[in-house]
Symmetry: C2
Subunit: 304 residues, 2 copies
């Protein structure tokens, strides 16, 4: 089992009301790959510039992550991303001081990677995401994430691409915008009735909702006392979710629900550190322990 992860490997500047960091390893693909590698083998497909520091590359050199697809673009600059969070960490101001190689250079799938069993495509141009999906011979499970930029600029291309994937992850405002409906539940169902197989609505600290033709599932957020930095939570969710699904014998309703809790669990660890720092030390045992706590925290009985 091997999961393709595509997206950005970037250098981030992050400011929260309580702390800040500059020139820190970041990027959607970084978080998704680290999260996914807790469960399965990962192949990372992303572009960086010649300025990408060796010490950042070393953080990504891990037994379960294949970096053959981390391509250094000659003369290119690594993407830079910045975020400043509000007091309650639920809203942020984002900026892109340097879009860099992640926009200009869309690395094609390595020919020998066409046997990936799973594909976790972090935010990128929907046409490029579609090409990656086309390049895989027989993936068992695929996920497409996106950002507001692509909903605004290429909504029709995005709709086509997400219909071809098994799952799309969107946050609350994105699902509303894409479906043009104020109710999350209705927006999710609308996308499903328009041919999307499974919609995961990421609700940040409030958890996640999942809609497909066969199921509707809602999960609360894991209650954290200290959120250090929400950056990368959605990508950690996606990587953990799909990384888990890549390992199950059969992708059933039951396993999808479990995968959502695994994704939420990894995301809950992710926000405990600045950028992907917590993911660098996280173990599968810690994830399994918190998964069980998640169940404790949410279980209630039906029978009187």
């Amino acid at each position: 089992m091997t999961m393709l992860v595509s997206g950005w490997v970037a250098i981030d500047d992050i400011e929260t009301p309580f702390t800040s960091v500059t020139d820190s390893l970041g990027g959607s693909a970084t978080c998704a790959a680290l999260a996914g590698s807790l469960f399965t083998d990962v192949r990372l497909l992303a572009a960086v510039g010649e300025d990408f520091p060796d010490e950042m590359r070393r953080k990504l050199e891990r037994p379960r992550i294949d970096l053959a697809g981390l391509q250094t673009i000659k003369g290119g600059k690594t993407s830079r991303w910045g975020a400043r969070y509000s007091y309650d960490m639920n809203s942020r101001e984002t900026w892109y001081p340097e879009l860099g190689v992640s926009i200009d250079h869309l690395p094609p799938l390595l020919p020998e990677w066409d046997d990936c069993t799973a594909a976790c495509l972090a935010a990128g141009h929907p046409v490029y995401q579609g090409e990656l999906l086309s390049g895989l011979r027989a993936p068992r499970v695929t996920l497409v994430d996106t950002i507001k930029m692509f909903i605004d600029e290429t909504p029709e291309e995005l709709r086509q691409t997400i219909r071809r994937a098994d799952f799309v992850t969107l946050n609350e405002s994105e699902v509303r915008e894409l479906a043009q409906m104020p109710s999350i539940a209705r927006a999710g169902r609308d996308l499903v009735s328009n041919g999307v197989k499974g919609v995961i609505v990421k609700l940040g600290e409030y958890g996640a909702a999942f809609v497909s033709g066969e199921d509707y599932f809602v999960a609360p957020g894991y209650p954290l006392e200290d959120v250090v930095d929400p950056t990368g939570a959605g990508d950690s969710f996606a990587g953990g979710f799909l990384g888990y699904l890549d390992t199950v014998p059969e992708i059933t309703r039951r396993e999808i629900r479990r995968a959502i809790i695994y994704g939420s669990t990894v995301a809950s660890f992710s926000v405990e550190g600045l950028g992907p720092s917590r993911l660098l030390t996280l173990t599968r045992e810690e994830v399994d322990g918190r998964y069980r706590q998640f169940r404790e925290l949410t279980h209630f009985e039906v029978d009187g």
Copy 2:
């Protein structure tokens, strides 16, 4: 088993992006009483003015609601309340065109009502809420709700009163403001470490979180496709939650969790109609059916 419900019976003007209503029966005690009466016998303690319409009173005349405490104040005017909701229904502008008798006349507990087994005290002055608690001989379970006004104006009195109750319900911004902490989980624990027995944080469409010395529970929101009017959801939660607890042989961790789901379930029906209109037709069978659906929507398995 009999539950005291105190608070406002009011006349509301409500405007949402999709509909509006004027001169409609409303008020915190109205919703809490109707919700509670799905589970237990309710005694309603509230003041209205001479202008309170007979047709509104008739809506409250129900087999399980004792209106002996619904006092008409001579020369008084019924409280009026207004709300205008944003597009996603998650924020609202509130106004009080006429505070009326609910502020000027705080009806004392009827002497023959001192045997109530439960007390659901919807938002009111905390000193008054404390007096009501003192007037009960041996309540098994009590709940205090509040609003921003009392957190701003009488925070110390409020802290004293909520320490005397079994449960306090607060929304997200209220719990942050009262504990002066940005994390809900930390704010809840802080109130508990300062002597509050059980804190329920109402998260609107995202569900609820519960913190006590013995338990931590998180429940997602019931996914509704059409929210007509969120007014009274918190009061419906409180009435349903405490009404259910009033009926159980022993108030255990298990029953508190079940009560939170019952409260959430009743609240989810409440927002399907303007003001308390849906509560007027709601049956216990419908509530039990959706409770089971709630379980279906949220269940996930632990073992691999």
